[in-house]
Subunit: 326 residues, 2 copies
């Protein structure tokens, strides 16, 4: 319980810090959309992970807060531009930035958010008195773009293997979480454990994204703003579909792909998909994949040079992240 409270306190101080940023300055056409996306909310899992782990490792508080802010700004920049590319109309049940303010404002406001993210990371580096944060962030930012490019490339391909999908979600999702984990190690001067914390972030991110794929179809109560089975209804690539692909022979695969791309009836889509998943025990196999990444995550903690108390708190925190109903 102490752990949960602590996370809420960190979230509160993070939100206070973010509210302190001034987006009321001109030109308003540039900064109003920035404020809009930031107030749409979200779990803030990336900055909170950074702040929480930094707290466990007794890291520099001010540097951590600036790094967390940069991380969240970058994440939101990527949401704005991804929503344009995916032609998404809704984000968290509200209009996406390009739907609300137009394409040009969405491009430019995204650009300036990315620039602001670099500002806060560079401030974090200065305040920590350690080098390496900016280099790590630039590498991470580059990889996020590479992940998004892979994701768009995949849209044009009917077939995809599981390894490619994992690499895409590693780049598009996991590296940003891993940046936060390693940044916490850097501002805490725990360089001995920095690379293992990075790997911990990657495995946590991969497990988290696969859980998302799982919950999209199997959650009893879909998350706020999401439609149950949305991935399947929109013929999106999803880990569950790729798990199924691994089980099908070439003939079955092409038959499935044809159906998956052409079927327009939502009820038929969901019921036939459930049939496929049951037939090939996809639910169990996919859970096993998630557990394997969770196991690898805990192994990273075990192998790190952190002290026993720090390891215990880190295990508690990661367990909390993995605590969704799968």
């Amino acid at each position: 319980m102490a752990n949960v409270r602590s996370t809420q306190e960190l979230l509160k101080s993070f939100e206070d810090f973010m509210k302190g940023l001034d987006w009321s300055k001109p030109p308003h056409s540039l900064y109003v959309p920035v404020e809009y996306i930031l107030t749409l909310g979200g779990k803030r899992i990336r900055p909170i992970s950074l702040l929480h782990i930094s707290q466990i490792l007794d890291g520099n508080t001010e540097a951590s807060m600036h790094a967390a802010c940069g991380l969240e700004l970058f994440h939101n920049f990527s949401l704005i531009h991804d929503d344009i590319m995916d032609q998404s109309e809704l984000r968290r049940s509200k209009a996406t930035v390009h739907k609300k303010y137009g394409l040009n404002a969405a491009i430019l406001s995204g650009d300036v958010m990315m620039i602001e993210s670099m500002y806060y990371i560079s401030q974090a580096e200065k305040r920590s008195g350690k080098t390496g944060l900016m280099d790590l962030f630039v590498q991470t930012a580059r990889e996020v773009c590479e992940g998004q490019a892979m994701d768009m490339d995949f849209e044009d391909r009917s077939e995809l293997n599981y390894a490619e999908y994992l690499e895409m979600i590693r780049l598009k999702t996991a590296v940003l979480l891993a940046f936060g984990f390693k940044a916490a190690a850097i501002v805490s001067d725990q360089m001995d454990s920095a690379d293992l914390l990075y790997d911990l972030g990657i495995y946590t991110g991969l497990a988290f994204q696969l859980e998302d794929d799982w919950l999209d179809f199997y959650a009893e109560e879909p998350a706020f703003g999401k439609i149950k089975g949305g991935d399947i209804l929109n013929a999106k690539k999803s880990g569950l579909i790729l798990e199924l692909m691994e089980e099908l022979n070439d003939y079955e695969k092409s038959e499935f792909i044809n159906w998956y791309q052409q079927e327009r009836d939502d009820t038929i889509r969901i019921s036939k998909m459930t049939g496929y998943f049951n037939q090939y025990a996809i639910q169990e196999k996919f859970k096993q994949r998630i557990f394997t990444f969770q196991k690898k995550a805990f192994d990273c903690i075990d192998q790190s040079k952190l002290n026993d108390d720090q390891k215990k708190k880190l295990i508690e925190f990661i367990t909390g992240i993995f605590g969704r109903k799968i």
Copy 2:
């Protein structure tokens, strides 16, 4: 003549450095458009200014080259995104990135170029052993976005005053040149003169942009890839038009604006515009504005703490930039 040769040598070594960057890595959908825009050429006035001034001030060569590379990458990122926003189909007589590779690739390749620009600036800061480059760059990048936002805001307004136009071109154009000028001072450890070199860059940039407006209408041979009078034909905001506005009373102004926005015949546009400009002696008044900025630029050199030899070489270099036929 030695000065001219030297600029060409710097250009050669800059192009060699840029050719050394690897854009053949995957995902190709992300990096091929980056290589494309970089090979469209251009005067490279920003990086060459940085390299030339750094050479005059005996600055760190490696740091200068990395800063120049970051500057050019950022400039090209802004071209890609601006071309989307302006719906431009041609850049240097070739297809713009979004026309050639599509909107999504143009957004994302622009994003990754901006990230790469931050990488090279951060490398420059490290190699120079001086602080301040990254902060200055982030501030500059933010201002370029603000300038582009102002430019787009202006599209929706029929009236505009000269001061607003100047502020817009200061942000959209001059600050990037000024970054290069001040960066040269930073990597040369000439901090005493850094702010005056920044101002020199601003005045040079303003004079340069106003010259561009002038040459667009009055050049005997329009520059490669440009149409003579293109600004006027496309009803763009231009310094010449705003100079004219300063001369008209409210009635004449609204009459002019109506005509300017509605006239479709190119020959009539050009001839009537020429008539307006002659009637109000706009050509002379506008030249005077440009000369005033050039004078301010030379004053900055004069007031700086550089030695006489450095001042002489800097005056030669700036005179070369101002050497176009106006």
